[in-house]
Symmetry: C2
C-alpha cells in the first residue's frame, strides 16, 4: 500500500470503526484518522482506541489524506463531497462503504471533476450490530467487496482501491455502478422490502402461532429503518422494478392456488426449491455460509 | 390415558414415527401400531424399532384401535377415512397431524357419522428433516399443538385428544377448523408462498452476491414441494386471500419507494420493525425461540 500513508474514515459506526481498527493493527505504514459528527461517538471511539487519531472536525480530518472513506448514510454523500472538495489534496481517492453506487458516482463526477478521484466500494457486511463498540479488526475477512467504476473513473485510483480492500481481507469483484445497483436490489433491497411487506401483512393476533418459518422469513425486517430508508431512497427505480417482479410471481402463485392447479403449483414450488438449493450449494462451495 | 390402549399411526414419516416412538418409550399402558404404504419404510421402521408393532396392512393396523392418527398427506385423508370406516370399532377417535383442518373435519363428519369421532390435531413442527430415520421421542416436547372441533365434535373424544398431545409434551390450544386454517395461512402458508415468489423473482446470475438476507428470507422455499402442494391445495382460499394482503403491502412500498416518499417509507419500515421485534420478544418470553 505504498500509495496510501493517511486514510481518513468519516463515520465511526460498525463499518467505519472496523476499517480504522484494521488499519491500526495491520497496515503499519498507514495512519488511520477517524471522524464522527457526534461528540459521544468520538469519545467512545477514543476510549475503544479504534483509530490512530480521532479528529473533532471533518474537514481537518480529510486534510492531506491519500484516501477518504465515507461510512455515513448515502444521502449525506453529496453534502460531504461539497464540504471536503476544497480541502482534500490533488489525486486524493474518495470512496465509501454504501449499498448504492449510481448516485455516489454521479455526485463524485459532478463535484470532484478530475482533481479528486471517486471510486465506489461496497463491502457486503450482513451484521445487524451497529455502533463503534462492535468494531472488529476482522470484520472484512472473507467478505465480498464490490468496487465500481465508470468510463471516467481514474484507473490508478481504481486499482489502489481494489488493493486496499483485498489488503483488509475482502474478496474483491468489480462492476459498473448500474450493474451493482441492479444486482443489490435483486439480492438485498427487494428481499428486505418483501420481508417488510410480509410482516406488515400478518395480523398481530396470529404471531403467537408463528414457527421458525415466519421468524426467519421476516428476520431482516428488524433492521434499522433509517439505514434502509437511505438505501430505498437512493436505489428507488431498481427496487420498485424488483418489487414488481415479486408481485408478478405472487400473482402466478395466487392464481394457481385459487384454481387448485396442482401442476402449476408443483412447477412453481419445484423451481423455487431448485433455485434456493442452488443458492445454498453455491454458498457452501464458496464457504460463505455463516 | 385410560381410554387409550391401542393407538395406530398411519404414515411412518418424521411425525408419525416420532409419535409411535414416544408412545413406546413413555406410555407404558398403550400399544403403538405403525403402518406405511411403502414396504421400504416399514422395513426401516422395524429396523429402528420405532413402534411396538409395524403392520403390513392399513385396515389390519386400525382394527381394535382406540385412536387412529393419520400422518399422511391431507389429500389422502378422505380416501383413508372411507377405507378404514368399516373396520374401526365404535367410538374410535380418528385424528391427524396435518396443517389444514377445515376439509378433514368436513370429510370426517360426512364419512364417519356419529359412530367414529374425528378430532383435528396440528402439532406445529418446523423440522426440515423428513423420514422415519429422524424419529425422536422428544419431537413433541414444548411444541404447540392446535386441537380443533366443530359443534358436532364428540366432547369426550376432543378431551381425550387434547390429553394425548399434552401427554406427549405439547402445549395444547384449541380452535375451530376455520380459525385454524386462517391463522396457519397467515403464519405459515403465506410466508411459504412469499419465500417461493421471492426466490423465483431473483435472477440466478445474481445469487453469488447474496448475503444472509436472501438466504434466510428464502430458507423455507427449500421445503419439499409435495408437502407444500398438499397444504396449498387444501387451504387454497385462505392462502389466496393472504397472498393478496402481501401484494397490497408490496404495492404500498413500491409506490412509496417510486415516489421517494421518505415519510411513508419510514412509517412502513418502522411498523415492520415494531411487529417483527414484538414477534421475537413474544417467542423469547415463551422460550419458543429455536
Amino acid at each position: 500500500m505504498r500509495d496510501l500513508r493517511k486514510i481518513s474514515v468519516l463515520g465511526m459506526g460498525l463499518l467505519g470503526a472496523s476499517i480504522t481498527l484494521r488499519i491500526l493493527r495491520s497496515l503499519s505504514n498507514v495512519k488511520s484518522f477517524g471522524y464522527s459528527h457526534r461528540a459521544s461517538t468520538r469519545k467512545k471511539a477514543r476510549q475503544n482506541g479504534v483509530a490512530d487519531i480521532i479528529v473533532d472536525d471533518m474537514v481537518e480530518c480529510v486534510t492531506d489524506a491519500d484516501m477518504v472513506i465515507l461510512a455515513t448514510p448515502i444521502c449525506t454523500f453529496e453534502g460531504i463531497f461539497k464540504e471536503i472538495r476544497e480541502r482534500v489534496k490533488d489525486g486524493c481517492i474518495v470512496t465509501d462503504v454504501g449499498s448504492v453506487k449510481v448516485l455516489p458516482h454521479k455526485w463524485g463526477e459532478k463535484i470532484f471533476g478530475k482533481r479528486i478521484h471517486y471510486v465506489g466500494s461496497h463491502p457486503i457486511a450482513g451484521s445487524e450490530k451497529r455502533g463503534v463498540e462492535f468494531a472488529r479488526d476482522d470484520l472484512f475477512v472473507g467478505l465480498q467487496c464490490i468496487v465500481t467504476k465508470t468510463a471516467k473513473t481514474n484507473a490508478r485510483a481504481f486499482a489502489t482501491t481494489k488493493k486496499f480492500w483485498a489488503e483488509l481481507g475482502c474478496k474483491v469483484s468489480t462492476m459498473s455502478p448500474g450493474e451493482h445497483d441492479k444486482t443489490l436490489a435483486s439480492v438485498s433491497h427487494v428481499p428486505h422490502v418483501t420481508a417488510v411487506a410480509l410482516i406488515n401483512a400478518t395480523s398481530e393476533k396470529d404471531i403467537k402461532y408463528a414457527g421458525k418459518g415466519l421468524t426467519d422469513t421476516t428476520r431482516i425486517a428488524s433492521g434499522a429503518p433509517s439505514v434502509w430508508m437511505d438505501i430505498l431512497l437512493t436505489n428507488s427505480d431498481n427496487t420498485a422494478r424488483g418489487i414488481d417482479r415479486v408481485i408478478k410471481e405472487l400473482t402466478k402463485l395466487k392464481t394457481a392456488v385459487k384454481n387448485k392447479n396442482a401442476k402449476h403449483i408443483e412447477e412453481l414450488l419445484s423451481k423455487a426449491k431448485r433455485d434456493r438449493d442452488a443458492l445454498i450449494n453455491y454458498k457452501i462451495k464458496k464457504k460463505e455460509l455463516f
